[in-house]
């Protein structure tokens, strides 16, 4: 499919029928479509995987009735949510109430644009936007994501969602700092903010080996960013009913839900890119074996997706293992442990770099 479509584009160019910007537009739109499609598919199936895997962890079966092994469950869920009545409670602030779920999903979709998900496919770089400040884009959008939750909490005009929203804001502020500090080491080593170049820097040695402390802090911060256990205080269903999404139903709730999982996909993608060599295949010189062909391009994309899936599994695994932090523990961890450790990590990296000079 992709191959064929790309051939058509190349054909256009040869025939002189298309100006370069039109080609660029078509190719970018194709990449956008493919990435969003794959991502939404991953979101749907991560939900299913989570439900089945948590069942296995808890010695249950999980949803296994719709289709073989329950594989059609996401379709059934989606259909159910679409058919639900779209309730707009009378006591909410209507505009923000409707806006909030969209704001939650949007940053996740926008962030994925700067993640390099493969090397090259037919000479085309496999990243939607090759920004040279890629990581800043990621961080600014990740910070935006919390607005959706805070807005949902506030617009719902009800107590539990409000507490959820406030908690989310407090949590984000505490962990954003640690997250920012933890990746500085990466960029000191790689010497660029462009994610593509960070990946290229890791062609010989994954950064997780050089920055284990940085990775640990980053991973913890990412769990906090995506509101996953053990940092799921904003929705903490045992204490806050369902936290910020208590007042939501039907597709609006589904958007929050998709947003959570899309954020998980993005967080995994960022971790893979920064610390686990992005699309690089470890130990195997793919290009030597397969040549610079479409095939090797696909192998790189496959490798990226495999690493992504591994991280998604980690997210699920952790969620069904760890209990939630108490609020003071959360704050302690963020401010008194992760923040100093982040600074220490920068100092160590700087010392080693200075020593190598």
């Amino acid at each position: 499919m992709v191959n064929h479509a790309a051939d058509i584009v190349v054909h256009w160019v040869q025939a002189g029928m298309a100006t370069p910007w039109l080609v660029w537009l078509v190719i970018t739109l194709m990449k956008c479509g493919a990435v969003v499609g794959v991502m939404m598919g991953m979101v749907a199936y991560t939900v299913l995987a989570e439900r089945r895997f948590c069942a296995f962890i808890q010695d249950r079966l999980g949803p296994n009735r719709v289709g073989p092994f329950g594989l059609l469950q996401p379709v059934a869920d989606g259909m159910k949510l679409f058919l639900k009545e779209n309730v707009l409670p009378g006591h909410v602030n209507k505009v923000y109430y409707v806006l909030a779920p969209a704001i939650t999903l949007f940053p996740a979709l926008a962030t994925i644009a700067v993640i390099p998900f493969g090397n090259r496919l037919g000479g085309e770089k496999m990243v939607i936007a090759d920004l040279n400040v890629g990581i800043l884009w990621v961080f600014s959008l990740a910070a935006l994501g919390v607005y959706g939750i805070v807005l949902a909490g506030w617009a719902s005009n009800s107590k539990y969602p409000f507490i959820g929203g406030v908690r989310s804001a407090a949590q984000l502020i505490s962990y954003e700092l640690a997250m920012g500090l933890s990746v500085i080491g990466v960029f000191m080593l790689a010497g660029s903010l462009n994610l593509g170049q960070v990946v290229e820097y890791q062609s010989h040695c994954w950064l997780v080996l050089k920055q284990p402390l940085g990775f640990l802090i980053f991973m913890v911060a990412m769990f906090a960013e995506t509101n996953r256990t053990p940092f799921d205080l904003p929705e903490g269903e045992q204490e806050l009913a369902a936290g910020y999404n208590t007042e939501y139903g039907s597709m609006k709730f589904a958007l929050f839900f998709m947003g959570e999982y899309a954020n998980m996909v993005v967080a995994s993608a960022v971790m893979v890119t920064l610390f686990f060599g992005g699309w690089q295949v470890p130990f195997i010189p793919v290009e030597q074996w397969l040549g610079c062909s479409w095939l090797s391009g696909m192998v790189y994309i496959g490798c990226f997706l495999a690493k992504l899936a591994a991280f998604l599994f980690l997210f699920i695994w952790v969620r069904w293992t760890l209990p939630r932090f108490r609020y003071d523990q959360l704050m302690n961890l963020g401010w008194k442990v992760l923040l100093p450790l982040g600074l220490l990590n920068i100092l160590l990296t700087a010392l080693v770099l200075a020593g190598q000079r």
Binding site: F56, D59, L61, W317
Partner: protein, 174 residues
């Protein structure tokens, strides 16, 4: 008086969380693979296909029974109707036709209805019945598409109840 709860002093390893996290993750991943590969007997019953058999003596739906000769044992005394706490039972008595074999019983239920939406399975009806005519049986799964369907009438109650040997046979022709 203030109550002071002593808090244990955590060691460094405990305060780091990491060893505890790793051991927890090890535990869950073991469960995950054991269940993924199906190495252990599963406990879950896949309900509509596999049902959990009710234990003997289980108090399920109240039903009417016949004796070995096929006689309806209920004599429409209405004691169960009066004792039923949620008033789930309605008995409409009628006289037995003269000349019938059991004419001396005098009454029989023309209609007997138990509303299963009201029944609380207390078993009082079974306990109070002087004729041992009403029994709670091991039928626990009651579903219906309408309320009307869940009001069991006499036919249904007798069908559910089946027959039960009568040890006393007090209405036997003497």
């Amino acid at each position: 008086m203030a109550i002071i709860t002593p808090r244990p002093q955590l060691t460094l390893a405990e305060r780091l969380y990491l060893p505890a996290i790793v051991s927890g993750m090890w535990l869950t991943i073991r469960h995950f693979f054991v269940n993924l590969l199906g190495l252990k007997k599963k406990f879950t019953l896949e309900y509509p296909d596999e049902k959990c058999p009710p234990p003997p003596g289980c108090r399920g739906a109240p039903t009417l029974v016949r004796d070995e000769d096929g006689r309806e044992k209920c004599v429409a005394c209405q004691l169960c109707e009066f004792v039923c706490p949620p008033r789930a039972i309605r008995v409409t008595p009628e006289a037995l036709p003269p000349g019938s074999r059991h004419a001396k019983i005098e009454k029989r239920p023309a209609a007997f209805e138990i509303n299963m939406l009201r029944c609380i399975y207390c078993g009082f009806c079974q306990e109070v019945c002087p004729e041992e005519a009403i029994f709670l049986r091991e039928k626990t799964i009651l579903t219906g598409a309408s309320r009307r369907e869940l009001v069991h009438d006499k036919q249904r109650l007798l069908a559910l109840g089946g027959s039960r040997p009568d040890s006393v046979k007090k209405w036997k022709d003497k």
